[in-house]
């Protein structure tokens, strides 16, 4: 049977409509969050002020005054940036070795790395807490960076491995014949050729680090606390202050949403794992 390309009514009208519905569905929580962040705590729970209310900046102003937003934000930036850098520093050589000099165990090693992501974080909560406290690393940037790096390392290595695999081995071998050492191969050939993939990986890793909450909430109190901790802290014992909570949340997700917006292309590339060349 011949396959005929047809322009159905669905593809002209249906698809865009469906795309908009899905898009709005995903966007709605963000929209709602931002909207609520401009309401007073009292207005936030009243149905009559659903869309029409007197906007206020108090939640944001209070946030910087009362909670030291900037300290949390700085911590988030520091921990995410360094965790990403270290994850790449370990991930690039590992993925390089496995992509270009695979052994019989390579596949198993990769599967084992992935399997660590299947372990429920709660299962290692006690040993991790015990370890950090007895090492005196509780609530330190160092610990948060190490933990964020480790939990993202499997995905970083997997992604890099997939990108590196697409580089023909001949080109690396040509480099060897042209007299480069291993470091030269990585610096002169691998990184320039896989630049797009490395950037997508870094971006995704950064986002995962930024959004991480399970460990950052549990392994910090004040010194190394990130924005996740700030949000969690606003789950106030005095009751639920939706306006305030929304402002904190909006301020926490804001930077990453903006970053994601500017890097859409790389992100899509990263999430599809280089499946499409």
């Amino acid at each position: 049977m011949a396959i005929v390309a047809t322009t159905t009514k669905f593809s002209v009208y249906g698809r865009p409509v469906l795309a908009w519905i899905v898009g709005l569905l995903f966007f709605f929580p963000i929209f709602w969050l931002v909207l609520t962040s401009f309401k007073t705590d009292a207005d936030a729970v009243k149905p009559e002020f659903l869309f029409f209310f007197t906007p206020t900046l108090d939640n944001y102003l209070n946030m910087t005054e009362n909670y030291d937003y900037w300290r949390f934000a700085t911590n988030s930036v520091i921990t995410s940036v360094f965790a990403t850098i270290f994850a790449l520093a370990v991930g690039i050589p590992s993925a390089y070795a496995m992509a270009f000099n695979p052994s019989r165990a390579t596949k198993d090693v990769l599967m084992w790395m992935l399997s660590t992501k299947m372990l429920p974080a709660a299962a290692v909560l006690y040993p991790m807490t015990f370890l950090t406290k007895s090492l005196g690393l509780f609530d330190t940037h160092f610990m948060v960076i190490v933990v964020l790096m480790l939990i993202n390392l499997p995905i970083v290595i997997w992604m890099l491995f997939t990108y590196f695999k697409e580089i023909p081995k001949d080109i690396i071998e040509a480099g060897q014949m042209d007299g480069v050492n291993t470091w030269g191969e990585v610096k002169e050939i691998l990184i320039p050729l896989a630049w797009g993939g490395i950037a997508s990986t870094a971006l995704l890793c950064f986002i995962f680090c930024w959004n991480e909450a399970y460990w950052t909430v549990r392994l910090t109190t004040t010194e190394a606390a990130t924005l996740s901790k700030l949000i969690e802290g606003n789950r106030a014992p005095e009751g639920l202050f939706f306006g305030r909570l929304s402002a904190v949340s909006a301020a926490a997700v804001g930077p990453i949403v903006v970053l994601g917006w500017f890097c859409q292309k790389q992100l899509v590339q990263g999430l599809t794992f280089g499946a499409v060349k």
Partner: protein, 334 residues
């Protein structure tokens, strides 16, 4: 200098031995061609010399120095890959300059050498382009340029022409031969195409299943193949090999005769057959003959044209002084 000696070199991948103990010497300045059917180990052998594969045992000596454990980057050899393996993110100029830059040569010297290579290879107009913008032949030239600027001890070519179309292949074949004449540097060239081997080589190394079947000049191999395999592999169209009563009559277990060493007549001759396909090339005619009782098909080559068509009766007579006789083991009889 580029004398390369392989001493009892073996290579195994896991359990399977692809190169059984092998000894070979390639003299300085020689154009050596490794030829054989696919899977015969010729590329593996080249990669062993390059250092891209580790030997399982044995020794590789380059210019009287044991290079067995030396990494590829330090062997002083240059390689041209079948896929060209150019650096796609660099311009032609940077591709050619790359090995020089890695050797920490001064920029002025690099520029001079790159310009020189570009002139030899007709690449001067393309220096600022990226490999992706070039045709196959131009890419191959860039790959060769990248190899020659380093003035290596030897060039290694891994089926460099097999990605090019037929016309370009003939042109590039000439260019590489000319390059060899000009540089007089050792070249090792891997191909499965016996025409390339015959036309370019000083020395042909015929390989089968990792074993060297014969080493010699193209005409040595053509005139005195050591065994049936080499006899059948070198020469185009292939040598006819017959066995059975007719071979016995000629005094051997198997007898080979080349298509061009067979006389043809429409009226009389040693063997009678029927024309299958006749290929008229103008300068030559190839006739594929069936029903001779000798083999499924006998091929003959006649200079000029002859008026035969499918189904015609034809008589064949091999030139008796040019017969190749082989014993029961398939080895050439003296």
């Amino acid at each position: 200098m580029g004398r390369i000696v392989l001493e009892d070199v073996t290579k195994s991948f896991g359990e399977s031995q692809v190169i059984p103990p092998l000894n070979l010497t390639i003299e300085d300045g020689e154009f050596a061609v490794f030829v054989g059917p696919s899977g015969c180990g010729k590329s593996t052998l080249l990669r062993l010399i390059a250092g891209l594969e580790d030997t399982t045992s044995g020794k590789i000596v380059i210019d009287n120095e044991d290079a067995t454990q030396v990494p590829p980057s330090k062997r002083g050899l240059a390689m041209v890959f079948q896929s060209y393996a150019l650096y796609p993110h660099m311009s032609v100029r940077k591709n050619i300059a790359f090995p020089l830059r890695m050797a920490k040569m001064s920029q002025s010297e690099i520029d001079k050498k790159v310009e020189g290579a570009a002139k030899i290879l007709n690449l001067a107009d393309y220096l600022e382009q990226k490999p992706g913008q070039l045709s196959g032949g131009q890419r191959q030239r860039v790959a060769i340029g990248r190899a020659i600027v380093r003035e290596p001890a030897a060039f290694l070519f891994d089926e460099p022409l097999s990605n090019l179309d037929a016309a370009l292949r003939v042109g590039m074949r000439l260019e590489i031969s000319e390059l060899h004449n000009r540089l007089s540097t050792t070249m090792i060239y891997v191909t499965h195409d016996q025409v390339e081997a015959m036309t370019m080589a000083d020395k042909i190394v015929v390989l089968r299943a990792g074993n060297i079947e014969q080493v010699g000049s193209p005409l040595d191999l053509y005139h005195t193949p050591r065994n049936i395999f080499v006899a059948g592999f070198i020469g185009s169209p292939k040598m006819n090999i017959i066995s059975g009563p007719e071979a016995d009559k000629l005094g051997a277990t198997s007898v080979g005769f080349r298509p061009e060493h067979t006389d043809v007549s429409k009226t009389e001759g040693m063997w009678k057959g029927r024309v299958g396909v006749a290929e008229h090339l103008g300068s030559d005619t190839f006739i594929h003959v069936h029903d001779t009782g000798l083999a499924d098909m006998i091929t003959v080559r006649i200079t000029g044209d002859i008026a035969v068509t499918h189904g015609d009766d034809i008589y064949l007579t091999p030139q008796l002084d040019k017969l190749h006789k082989f014993d029961a083991d398939g080895l050439r009889m003296a």
